[in-house]
Amino acid sequence: MEHDEARLWSLARSGDALAFAAVFDLHRDRVFRQAVRLLDSGPDAEDVSASAFLELFRRRDDVRIVNGSVLPWLLVTTANLARNATRARRRYRDFLARLPRDGREPASADVAQAVVDLDLDPRLQRALRQLSGEDVALLTLVVLEDFTIADAAAVLGLSPAGAKTRLHRARQRIRKTLPDFQIAYDQAGAP
Protein backbone atom coordinates (compact mmCIF):
# COMPACT_ATOMS: atom_id res chain seq x y z
CA MET A 1 0.00 0.00 0.00
CA GLU A 2 2.73 2.41 0.91
CA HIS A 3 4.52 1.60 -2.28
CA ASP A 4 1.33 2.24 -4.25
CA GLU A 5 0.94 5.60 -2.59
CA ALA A 6 4.52 6.44 -3.49
CA ARG A 7 3.66 5.70 -7.11
CA LEU A 8 0.52 7.78 -6.90
CA TRP A 9 2.40 10.66 -5.37
CA SER A 10 5.06 10.46 -8.03
CA LEU A 11 2.33 10.90 -10.65
CA ALA A 12 0.46 13.54 -8.66
CA ARG A 13 3.44 15.75 -8.09
CA SER A 14 4.16 15.81 -11.78
CA GLY A 15 0.69 17.24 -12.37
CA ASP A 16 -1.49 14.17 -12.80
CA ALA A 17 -4.91 15.31 -11.56
CA LEU A 18 -6.39 11.83 -11.21
CA ALA A 19 -3.48 10.66 -9.15
CA PHE A 20 -3.78 13.76 -6.98
CA ALA A 21 -7.49 13.01 -6.51
CA ALA A 22 -6.59 9.47 -5.45
CA VAL A 23 -4.18 10.86 -2.85
CA PHE A 24 -7.04 13.06 -1.65
CA ASP A 25 -9.28 9.98 -1.42
CA LEU A 26 -6.69 8.20 0.68
CA HIS A 27 -6.19 10.92 3.24
CA ARG A 28 -9.15 13.27 3.23
CA ASP A 29 -10.81 11.92 6.35
CA ARG A 30 -7.71 11.82 8.50
CA VAL A 31 -6.85 15.35 7.43
CA PHE A 32 -10.39 16.41 8.30
CA ARG A 33 -10.19 14.71 11.69
CA GLN A 34 -6.95 16.52 12.42
CA ALA A 35 -8.62 19.84 11.56
CA VAL A 36 -11.66 19.05 13.73
CA ARG A 37 -9.41 18.40 16.69
CA LEU A 38 -7.95 21.85 16.44
CA LEU A 39 -10.79 24.08 15.32
CA ASP A 40 -14.14 25.19 16.69
CA SER A 41 -16.20 25.27 13.55
CA GLY A 42 -17.05 22.73 10.88
CA PRO A 43 -16.60 25.16 7.99
CA ASP A 44 -13.22 26.14 9.44
CA ALA A 45 -12.19 22.47 9.55
CA GLU A 46 -13.32 22.03 5.96
CA ASP A 47 -11.51 25.14 4.80
CA VAL A 48 -8.34 24.10 6.55
CA SER A 49 -8.59 20.57 5.12
CA ALA A 50 -9.04 21.96 1.61
CA SER A 51 -6.13 24.33 2.17
CA ALA A 52 -3.93 21.46 3.32
CA PHE A 53 -4.47 19.66 0.01
CA LEU A 54 -3.88 22.87 -1.93
CA GLU A 55 -0.66 23.33 0.00
CA LEU A 56 0.23 19.73 -0.80
CA PHE A 57 0.04 20.55 -4.48
CA ARG A 58 1.61 23.99 -4.25
CA ARG A 59 4.57 22.65 -2.30
CA ARG A 60 4.69 19.30 -4.04
CA ASP A 61 8.39 19.47 -4.74
CA ASP A 62 9.20 20.07 -1.07
CA VAL A 63 6.88 17.61 0.62
CA ARG A 64 8.62 15.21 2.96
CA ILE A 65 7.66 11.66 2.15
CA VAL A 66 7.77 9.24 5.04
CA ASN A 67 7.73 5.57 4.17
CA GLY A 68 6.16 6.40 0.84
CA SER A 69 3.29 8.41 2.34
CA VAL A 70 2.42 12.10 2.31
CA LEU A 71 -0.02 11.68 5.21
CA PRO A 72 2.34 12.74 8.00
CA TRP A 73 3.22 15.88 6.05
CA LEU A 74 -0.47 16.58 5.47
CA LEU A 75 -1.26 16.21 9.16
CA VAL A 76 1.56 18.53 10.16
CA THR A 77 0.46 21.06 7.55
CA THR A 78 -3.13 20.81 8.76
CA ALA A 79 -1.99 21.52 12.30
CA ASN A 80 -0.04 24.55 11.12
CA LEU A 81 -2.91 25.85 9.01
CA ALA A 82 -5.32 25.38 11.90
CA ARG A 83 -3.13 27.77 13.88
CA ASN A 84 -4.20 30.48 11.50
CA ALA A 85 -7.33 29.45 9.68
CA THR A 86 -7.96 33.04 8.66
CA ARG A 87 -4.69 33.20 6.78
CA ALA A 88 -5.34 29.83 5.14
CA ARG A 89 -8.74 31.07 4.00
CA ARG A 90 -7.30 34.29 2.64
CA ARG A 91 -4.73 32.54 0.50
CA TYR A 92 -7.27 30.24 -1.11
CA ARG A 93 -10.32 32.51 -0.90
CA ASP A 94 -11.35 32.09 -4.53
CA PHE A 95 -10.95 28.33 -4.47
CA LEU A 96 -12.85 27.91 -1.21
CA ALA A 97 -15.67 30.15 -2.41
CA ARG A 98 -16.51 27.51 -5.05
CA LEU A 99 -17.21 24.80 -2.49
CA PRO A 100 -20.77 24.11 -1.30
CA ARG A 101 -21.85 25.56 2.05
CA ASP A 102 -25.60 25.85 1.86
CA GLY A 103 -27.93 23.75 3.93
CA ARG A 104 -25.27 22.72 6.43
CA GLU A 105 -25.80 22.16 10.10
CA PRO A 106 -24.83 24.96 12.43
CA ALA A 107 -21.12 24.79 12.88
CA SER A 108 -20.88 24.48 16.62
CA ALA A 109 -23.21 21.50 16.89
CA ASP A 110 -21.49 19.94 13.92
CA VAL A 111 -18.07 20.08 15.46
CA ALA A 112 -19.24 19.18 18.94
CA GLN A 113 -20.62 15.97 17.48
CA ALA A 114 -17.50 15.44 15.41
CA VAL A 115 -15.34 15.71 18.52
CA VAL A 116 -17.55 13.19 20.28
CA ASP A 117 -17.25 10.93 17.25
CA LEU A 118 -13.50 11.25 17.41
CA ASP A 119 -13.63 10.00 20.95
CA LEU A 120 -11.50 12.97 21.87
CA ASP A 121 -12.01 14.44 25.30
CA PRO A 122 -12.98 18.11 24.87
CA ARG A 123 -10.51 18.97 27.61
CA LEU A 124 -7.71 17.39 25.60
CA GLN A 125 -8.92 19.27 22.55
CA ARG A 126 -8.64 22.54 24.44
CA ALA A 127 -5.24 21.60 25.82
CA LEU A 128 -3.93 20.69 22.37
CA ARG A 129 -4.71 24.19 21.23
CA GLN A 130 -2.38 25.60 23.87
CA LEU A 131 0.61 23.89 22.29
CA SER A 132 2.81 25.18 19.49
CA GLY A 133 2.04 24.05 15.96
CA GLU A 134 4.99 21.68 15.92
CA ASP A 135 4.18 20.20 19.30
CA VAL A 136 0.56 19.65 18.47
CA ALA A 137 1.58 18.02 15.20
CA LEU A 138 4.01 15.74 17.01
CA LEU A 139 1.52 14.81 19.70
CA THR A 140 -1.34 14.14 17.31
CA LEU A 141 0.84 12.11 14.96
CA VAL A 142 2.21 9.85 17.67
CA VAL A 143 -0.58 9.67 20.24
CA LEU A 144 -3.70 10.00 18.12
CA GLU A 145 -2.64 8.82 14.66
CA ASP A 146 -0.36 5.95 15.68
CA PHE A 147 2.72 7.01 13.79
CA THR A 148 6.03 6.03 15.28
CA ILE A 149 8.19 8.71 16.83
CA ALA A 150 10.71 8.03 14.07
CA ASP A 151 8.10 8.74 11.38
CA ALA A 152 6.89 11.89 13.09
CA ALA A 153 10.46 13.05 13.58
CA ALA A 154 11.24 12.48 9.92
CA VAL A 155 8.40 14.61 8.68
CA LEU A 156 9.12 17.39 11.16
CA GLY A 157 12.82 17.38 10.40
CA LEU A 158 13.73 16.40 13.96
CA SER A 159 16.00 13.68 15.21
CA PRO A 160 14.12 10.79 16.84
CA ALA A 161 15.75 11.66 20.15
CA GLY A 162 14.80 15.32 19.76
CA ALA A 163 11.24 14.38 18.89
CA LYS A 164 11.03 12.14 21.93
CA THR A 165 12.18 14.96 24.17
CA ARG A 166 9.70 17.40 22.66
CA LEU A 167 6.93 14.86 22.99
CA HIS A 168 7.75 14.36 26.64
CA ARG A 169 7.65 18.11 27.24
CA ALA A 170 4.38 18.49 25.34
CA ARG A 171 2.88 15.75 27.43
CA GLN A 172 4.11 17.47 30.59
CA ARG A 173 2.45 20.69 29.49
CA ILE A 174 -0.80 18.90 28.92
CA ARG A 175 -0.54 17.27 32.32
CA LYS A 176 -0.12 20.67 33.92
CA THR A 177 -3.41 21.70 32.36
CA LEU A 178 -5.09 18.38 33.00
CA PRO A 179 -3.41 16.79 36.01
CA ASP A 180 -5.86 13.90 36.10
CA PHE A 181 -5.59 13.16 32.41
CA GLN A 182 -3.64 10.15 31.24
CA ILE A 183 -2.60 10.18 27.61
CA ALA A 184 -2.16 6.82 26.02
CA TYR A 185 1.48 6.83 25.31
CA ASP A 186 2.64 3.36 24.50
CA GLN A 187 5.31 4.04 21.95
CA ALA A 188 6.93 7.03 23.53
CA GLY A 189 7.80 5.19 26.67
CA ALA A 190 8.08 6.69 30.09
CA PRO A 191 10.82 9.29 30.24
Binding site: M1, H3, D4, E5, A6, R7, L8, S10, L11, A12, R13, S14, G15, D16, A17, L18, A19, F20, A21, A22, F24, D25, L26, R28, D29, R30, F32, R33, V36, G42, E46, S49, A50, F53, L54, F57, D62, R64, I65, V66, N67, G68, F95, R98, L99, P100, R104, A114, V115, D117, L118, T148, A150, D151, A153, A154, S159, P160
Partner: protein
Protein backbone atom coordinates in the same frame (compact mmCIF):
# COMPACT_ATOMS: atom_id res chain seq x y z
CA UNK B 1 -19.92 6.66 14.03
CA UNK B 2 -16.65 8.18 13.05
CA UNK B 3 -15.73 11.64 11.99
CA UNK B 4 -15.37 12.13 8.30
CA UNK B 5 -15.63 14.88 5.79
CA UNK B 6 -19.13 15.68 4.62
CA UNK B 7 -19.65 13.69 1.41
CA UNK B 8 -21.11 16.54 -0.55
CA UNK B 9 -18.30 18.85 0.46
CA UNK B 10 -15.71 16.14 -0.21
CA UNK B 11 -17.07 15.44 -3.70
CA UNK B 12 -17.03 19.11 -4.57
CA UNK B 13 -13.55 19.53 -3.12
CA UNK B 14 -12.29 16.51 -5.04
CA UNK B 15 -13.59 17.90 -8.33
CA UNK B 16 -12.20 21.35 -7.54
CA UNK B 17 -8.78 19.84 -6.76
CA UNK B 18 -8.79 17.93 -10.05
CA UNK B 19 -9.60 21.15 -11.86
CA UNK B 20 -6.95 23.01 -9.86
CA UNK B 21 -4.25 20.48 -10.75
CA UNK B 22 -5.30 20.27 -14.39
CA UNK B 23 -5.22 24.02 -14.84
CA UNK B 24 -1.99 24.59 -12.92
CA UNK B 25 0.76 26.09 -15.05
CA UNK B 26 2.99 23.40 -16.48
CA UNK B 27 6.27 22.87 -14.72
CA UNK B 28 9.51 21.69 -16.11
CA UNK B 29 9.43 18.06 -17.05
CA UNK B 30 10.35 15.98 -14.08
CA UNK B 31 12.86 13.29 -14.69
CA UNK B 32 11.44 11.49 -11.69
CA UNK B 33 8.24 10.77 -13.61
CA UNK B 34 8.25 7.35 -15.10
CA UNK B 35 5.54 5.19 -13.72
CA UNK B 36 3.04 3.98 -16.19
CA UNK B 37 -0.17 4.23 -14.31
CA UNK B 38 -1.22 5.21 -10.85
CA UNK B 39 -3.48 3.17 -8.70
CA UNK B 40 -6.64 5.05 -7.86
CA UNK B 41 -7.49 4.16 -4.31
CA UNK B 42 -11.07 3.07 -3.92
CA UNK B 43 -11.45 2.52 -7.64
CA UNK B 44 -9.22 -0.49 -7.76
CA UNK B 45 -7.68 0.63 -10.98
CA UNK B 46 -4.92 -1.79 -11.71
CA UNK B 47 -1.45 -0.50 -12.27
CA UNK B 48 0.51 -1.59 -15.24
CA UNK B 49 4.03 -0.53 -14.55
CA UNK B 50 6.25 -0.95 -17.54
CA UNK B 51 8.39 -3.63 -15.99
CA UNK B 52 5.39 -5.51 -14.66
CA UNK B 53 3.71 -5.56 -18.05
CA UNK B 54 6.82 -6.86 -19.69
CA UNK B 55 7.37 -9.47 -17.00
CA UNK B 56 3.81 -10.66 -17.46
CA UNK B 57 4.39 -11.15 -21.14
CA UNK B 58 2.03 -8.37 -22.06
CA UNK B 59 2.69 -6.40 -25.18
CA UNK B 60 4.06 -2.99 -24.30
CA UNK B 61 1.17 -0.60 -23.95
CA UNK B 62 1.11 2.68 -25.85
CA UNK B 63 2.54 5.52 -23.82
CA UNK B 64 4.51 3.26 -21.49
CA UNK B 65 7.73 4.95 -20.49
CA UNK B 66 10.65 3.10 -21.94
CA UNK B 67 13.19 2.61 -19.16
CA UNK B 68 16.63 1.65 -20.41
CA UNK B 69 19.42 1.00 -17.90
CA UNK B 70 22.53 2.72 -19.21
CA UNK B 71 25.10 1.27 -16.86
CA UNK B 72 25.58 -1.61 -14.49
CA UNK B 73 23.87 -1.15 -11.12
CA UNK B 74 26.03 0.07 -8.27
CA UNK B 75 25.40 -1.69 -4.96
CA UNK B 76 26.78 -0.13 -1.83
CA UNK B 77 26.33 -1.04 1.81
CA UNK B 78 26.79 1.96 4.06
CA UNK B 79 26.46 3.21 7.59
CA UNK B 80 25.40 6.68 8.69
CA UNK B 81 25.56 9.51 6.19
CA UNK B 82 27.65 8.71 3.15
CA UNK B 83 28.21 9.98 -0.34
CA UNK B 84 28.01 7.14 -2.83
CA UNK B 85 30.14 7.46 -5.93
CA UNK B 86 28.28 6.19 -8.96
CA UNK B 87 30.80 6.73 -11.72
CA UNK B 88 30.46 8.83 -14.82
CA UNK B 89 26.94 9.60 -15.95
CA UNK B 90 26.34 7.83 -19.28
CA UNK B 91 25.18 10.01 -22.13
CA UNK B 92 21.42 10.14 -22.37
CA UNK B 93 20.76 9.51 -18.66
CA UNK B 94 17.54 11.06 -17.43
CA UNK B 95 17.29 9.64 -13.95
CA UNK B 96 18.86 7.53 -11.27
CA UNK B 97 16.80 4.52 -10.28
CA UNK B 98 17.43 3.52 -6.69
CA UNK B 99 16.43 0.87 -4.23
CA UNK B 100 17.24 1.69 -0.64
CA UNK B 101 17.03 -0.98 2.04
CA UNK B 102 17.52 -0.59 5.78
CA UNK B 103 19.78 -3.11 7.48
CA UNK B 104 19.16 -1.70 10.95
CA UNK B 105 16.53 0.50 12.54
CA UNK B 106 16.87 4.13 11.57
CA UNK B 107 15.72 6.97 9.35
CA UNK B 108 17.32 6.99 5.92
CA UNK B 109 17.01 9.94 3.56
CA UNK B 110 17.69 10.15 -0.14
CA UNK B 111 19.20 13.23 -1.75
CA UNK B 112 15.78 14.72 -2.51
CA UNK B 113 14.49 14.17 1.01
CA UNK B 114 12.43 11.03 0.55
CA UNK B 115 12.79 8.92 3.63
CA UNK B 116 12.69 5.32 4.66
CA UNK B 117 11.95 4.81 8.33
CA UNK B 118 12.65 1.40 9.80
CA UNK B 119 12.27 -0.06 13.23
CA UNK B 120 14.07 -3.16 14.40
CA UNK B 121 11.61 -5.53 12.81
CA UNK B 122 12.02 -3.85 9.40
CA UNK B 123 15.76 -4.33 9.30
CA UNK B 124 16.77 -6.35 6.30
CA UNK B 125 13.22 -6.61 5.00
CA UNK B 126 12.07 -3.07 4.27
CA UNK B 127 13.05 -1.46 0.99
CA UNK B 128 12.06 1.67 -0.88
CA UNK B 129 12.08 2.11 -4.64
CA UNK B 130 12.65 5.68 -5.77
CA UNK B 131 14.03 7.68 -8.63
CA UNK B 132 16.16 10.78 -8.52
CA UNK B 133 16.66 13.49 -11.08
CA UNK B 134 20.19 13.45 -12.44
CA UNK B 135 21.97 16.81 -12.34
CA UNK B 136 24.55 17.45 -15.03
CA UNK B 137 28.06 16.84 -13.77
CA UNK B 138 26.91 15.09 -10.63
CA UNK B 139 28.12 11.52 -10.31
CA UNK B 140 27.30 10.75 -6.73
CA UNK B 141 24.34 10.71 -4.40
CA UNK B 142 24.05 11.08 -0.65
CA UNK B 143 22.25 8.83 1.76
CA UNK B 144 21.65 10.49 5.10
CA UNK B 145 21.31 8.35 8.21
CA UNK B 146 22.24 8.46 11.88
CA UNK B 147 25.42 7.05 13.35
CA UNK B 148 25.35 3.28 13.34
CA UNK B 149 22.31 3.10 11.06
CA UNK B 150 23.13 0.74 8.19
CA UNK B 151 21.62 0.59 4.73
CA UNK B 152 22.09 -0.87 1.27
CA UNK B 153 21.68 1.13 -1.90
CA UNK B 154 21.31 -0.24 -5.42
CA UNK B 155 21.51 2.58 -7.98
CA UNK B 156 21.26 2.46 -11.75
CA UNK B 157 21.56 5.21 -14.31
CA UNK B 158 18.69 5.00 -16.76
CA UNK B 159 17.17 6.75 -19.71
CA UNK B 160 13.42 7.11 -19.59
CA UNK B 161 11.55 8.07 -22.72
CA UNK B 162 7.84 8.19 -23.31
CA UNK B 163 6.27 6.30 -26.16
CA UNK B 164 3.29 7.64 -28.08
CA UNK B 165 -0.30 6.79 -27.23
CA UNK B 166 -2.39 4.95 -29.77
CA UNK B 167 -5.30 6.64 -31.50
CA UNK B 168 -8.40 4.63 -32.29
CA UNK B 169 -10.85 4.99 -35.19
CA UNK B 170 -12.88 7.51 -33.18
CA UNK B 171 -9.81 9.65 -32.71
CA UNK B 172 -9.54 8.79 -29.00
CA UNK B 173 -6.13 8.26 -27.47
CA UNK B 174 -5.44 5.04 -25.59
CA UNK B 175 -2.56 3.86 -23.47
CA UNK B 176 -1.09 4.51 -20.04
CA UNK B 177 -0.81 7.77 -18.18
CA UNK B 178 2.50 9.48 -18.58
CA UNK B 179 4.10 12.93 -18.55
CA UNK B 180 1.72 14.12 -21.22
CA UNK B 181 -1.22 13.39 -19.00
CA UNK B 182 -4.08 10.94 -19.22
CA UNK B 183 -5.28 9.38 -22.48
CA UNK B 184 -9.00 9.12 -23.23
CA UNK B 185 -8.81 5.36 -22.65
CA UNK B 186 -6.57 4.30 -19.78
CA UNK B 187 -5.01 0.84 -19.65
CA UNK B 188 -6.33 -1.42 -16.93
CA UNK B 189 -6.70 -5.09 -16.08
CA UNK B 190 -10.29 -6.28 -15.90
CA UNK B 191 -11.42 -8.55 -13.08
CA UNK B 192 -11.32 -11.46 -15.55
CA UNK B 193 -7.62 -10.81 -16.06
CA UNK B 194 -7.87 -9.36 -19.54
CA UNK B 195 -5.95 -6.24 -20.34
CA UNK B 196 -7.98 -3.46 -21.86
CA UNK B 197 -8.93 0.15 -21.36
CA UNK B 198 -11.33 2.16 -19.27
CA UNK B 199 -12.58 5.63 -20.14
CA UNK B 200 -10.66 8.12 -18.04
CA UNK B 201 -13.92 9.99 -17.42
CA UNK B 202 -15.26 6.87 -15.72
CA UNK B 203 -12.44 7.11 -13.24
CA UNK B 204 -13.47 10.59 -12.16
CA UNK B 205 -17.26 10.38 -11.98
CA UNK B 206 -18.93 9.84 -9.70
CA UNK B 207 -16.77 10.77 -6.77
CA UNK B 208 -16.60 8.06 -4.13
CA UNK B 209 -19.18 8.64 -1.45
CA UNK B 210 -17.32 7.07 1.41
CA UNK B 211 -13.65 6.36 1.82
CA UNK B 212 -13.64 6.43 5.56
CA UNK B 213 -10.89 4.20 6.89
CA UNK B 214 -12.59 1.15 8.23
CA UNK B 215 -15.83 2.32 6.74
CA UNK B 216 -18.01 1.26 3.90
CA UNK B 217 -17.51 2.04 0.22
CA UNK B 218 -20.17 1.77 -2.43
CA UNK B 219 -19.51 -1.09 -4.87
CA UNK B 220 -18.83 0.15 -8.34
CA UNK B 221 -17.80 -1.36 -11.64
CA UNK B 222 -16.42 0.24 -14.76
CA UNK B 223 -16.56 -1.42 -18.19
CA UNK B 224 -13.25 -2.41 -19.69
CA UNK B 225 -13.03 -2.12 -23.49
CA UNK B 226 -10.63 -2.99 -26.22
CA UNK B 227 -8.82 0.01 -27.63
CA UNK B 228 -11.76 0.73 -29.93
CA UNK B 229 -13.69 2.02 -26.92
CA UNK B 230 -16.81 0.04 -27.87
CA UNK B 231 -16.07 -3.66 -27.37
CA UNK B 232 -16.52 -4.58 -23.73
CA UNK B 233 -14.15 -7.33 -22.56
CA UNK B 234 -14.71 -7.18 -18.82
CA UNK B 235 -15.33 -5.07 -15.78
CA UNK B 236 -12.95 -3.24 -13.53
CA UNK B 237 -12.98 -3.57 -9.80
CA UNK B 238 -15.32 -2.24 -7.19
CA UNK B 239 -14.91 0.75 -4.98
CA UNK B 240 -12.86 -0.44 -2.07
CA UNK B 241 -11.90 0.86 1.28
CA UNK B 242 -8.24 1.96 1.05
CA UNK B 243 -7.42 0.24 4.32
CA UNK B 244 -8.98 -3.10 3.46
CA UNK B 245 -8.77 -3.28 -0.32
CA UNK B 246 -5.33 -2.09 -1.26
CA UNK B 247 -4.94 -1.43 -4.92
CA UNK B 248 -3.37 -4.20 -6.90
CA UNK B 249 -0.47 -4.05 -9.25
CA UNK B 250 0.28 -6.09 -12.27
CA UNK B 251 2.42 -9.14 -11.59
Amino acid sequence: MTTQMDDRFASALREALIDHVQTAPARRRRAARRLALGVAAGLLLVALAAAGAVAAGIVRLPGTPDVAPLAASVTVTGEGTQTVELGAVPAGTTELEIRLACLTAGTFLTADGASLVCDGSDAGTSEMGWHLAVVAGQHSTVITAGAGERWRLVATYARVTDTAWGVNADGLTFGVENDRGTPDLVAAIASNGRVGYVYSRDLIEPAPTSLQVGGHSEPRTIPVYTSDGHTVIGQLGTAGNPSTAPASTAP
